[in-house]
Amino acid sequence: MLATILSPTSGGAKLNGFSLDDSENVRRSIGIVFQDPSLDDELTAKENLEFHARVYHLSEQEKNKRIPEVLEIVGLNEKADLQIKTFSGGMKRRLEIARGLLHYPKILFLDEPTIGLDPQTRRTIWEHIENLNKQQGITVVLTTHYMDEADYLCDRIAIIDKGKIIALDTPENLKNVMGGDIVIIDTDDKEKFQKVLKFDWIKEIKEFEGKLNITVLNGEKAIPKLLDLSIKHKIKINSVNLKKPTLEDVFIHYTGRAIRDETSSSKDLLRSQASAMWRR
């Protein structure tokens, strides 16, 4: 809807100071990278970009300056004159990001930018996205099903379920909702150890699969303290394990375990997914 493909059923929104009704200015302010490729396979990389430059009304000089620039950003300078049908999935995705940037957008929308890509390509795209945000100062809004991607890239994360935002915060704050880290300790003297663990930095102790699950706010700092205590009280510890809550745990916490029945049409962009965003 913010990309002006769908019109709002009610209410309104502003992008870069332009109301959604002003679709021409809104479209000029945003760059979009769709989930599925939207390049012309018969054209070369450069021709695809030239087409984009024309329909976004860049002047001839701007066009000639900007095309090598954006190709440089995504590292495709040498492939400029190759037809898209010779490109791999990752190269296509990078070219689409370059195309999304061509007309100096203020906001870049990425719909699942790394879906179906190999780990190397995924890392490269992450680097490009980070670079865009940090160095070029572009606000990036991305949707993803990969929790690690949202965690790694985003300053603020919104979890969307059934078309509604059910949580919106920084990754750290979202993870804190889970109540902190869990230190898992395997010891033969479980009762004795449990008795000495009466501190306010210990939030909860549970026995799970024969081991002690100790919930603390900061796992890294708690482990040495716990070990000191065990030495002091002469308790033998067999193993220590630290489990930090992941965004996936947070996602499940908010959306529940039930599998979603997706009846979304191609136009329905709001799915049960984490949508992540960050700002400068």
């Binding site: 990309a3 002006t4 493909i5 679709s23 021409e24 200015n25 479209r27 000029r28 979009i32 769709f34 599925d36 490729p37 939207s38 390049l39 012309d40 396979d41 018969e42 054209l43 021709e47 087409f51 984009h52 024309r54 329909v55 976004y56 009304h57 037809q83 195309r99």
Partner: protein, 248 residues
């Protein structure tokens, strides 16, 4: 002013694609060529028309056929754009739907006119059609015919989800348009009901106009053909734009 640039951008893309797809050019020339040679000579050797040879009579009809097929195909290519995703790039660009449709129509029309012109050159070269100023008039007809049928293709593409339906269109729309247009036989001697159907066929006026311009033989005066076809072309472009809007 911007709109001209937008239309040009869409048109230019069609041109680049056309130049890249050399095999398509050759195959779109092969069929009308075979029609002209085999049907023209085959039927011409058993039947005769008063005043002109059958193959001469057929030649403008084959031009009409070339334009019909390649134009419809160019219009229907909107479906490919949708399937391969490029249509999304067009739809989110800050350009109007009118520019998109006009760019498509002009692009498709240019492509099919190039094909038809190659046929025309061949026809002039082998002496089926004599070289005269009237060739310029025929070019106007070619432009109108191709724009009409690219628009019709766009309308079809707006109603279709995938290429599966193309066979249906071929059998129930394109072939009847072709047969009823009088490209293959004179309409004057056909039964009344068929003449009515023919006069409802846009291509009839195109073929008749081409015949009038190129071999000096037509049912209607050339100005009537021109007026009728121009009105049809404008309406088809408007319908094409409306249907494209509705589908996207």
């Amino acid at each position: 002013m911007n709109m001209i640039g937008d239309i040009y951008a869409v048109w230019l893309r069609e041109m680049i694609r056309f130049v890249r797809a050399k095999s398509r050019v050759i195959s779109s020339l092969a069929m009308p060529f075979f029609w002209l040679v085999f049907i023209g000579i085959g039927i011409g050797s058993s039947f005769s028309l008063p005043g002109t040879s059958y193959i001469t009579f057929l030649a403008p009809g084959i031009l009409g056929m070339t334009l019909l097929f390649s134009s419809i195909f160019a219009g229907v290519s909107v479906i490919w754009d949708r399937q391969f995703g490029f249509l999304k790039e067009l739809l989110v660009a800050p350009i109007s739907r009118t520019s998109i449709v006009l760019g498509k129509v002009f692009g498709g029309a240019t492509v099919s006119m190039i094909t038809a012109m190659i046929m025309l050159v061949v026809m002039v070269f082998v002496g089926l059609i004599s070289f005269s100023v009237m060739i310029l008039v025929s070019i106007v007809f070619m432009a109108l015919i191709s724009m009409t049928f690219v628009s019709l293709g766009v309308v079809m593409a707006s109603r279709m989800k995938g290429m599966e339906g193309f066979q249906m269109i071929m059998s129930f729309l394109i072939m009847p348009i072709f047969f009823l247009s009088g490209a293959l036989f004179p309409l004057e001697n056909t039964p009344g009901w068929m003449q009515v159907a023919s006069y409802l066929d846009p291509l009839t006026y195109g073929v008749d106009g081409l015949r009038g311009a190129l071999i000096g033989h037509s049912i209607f005066p050339i100005t009537l053909d021109l007026t009728a076809l121009a009105l049809i072309t404008i309406s088809m472009i408007i319908i094409g734009k409306y249907m494209f809007d509705k589908a996207n």
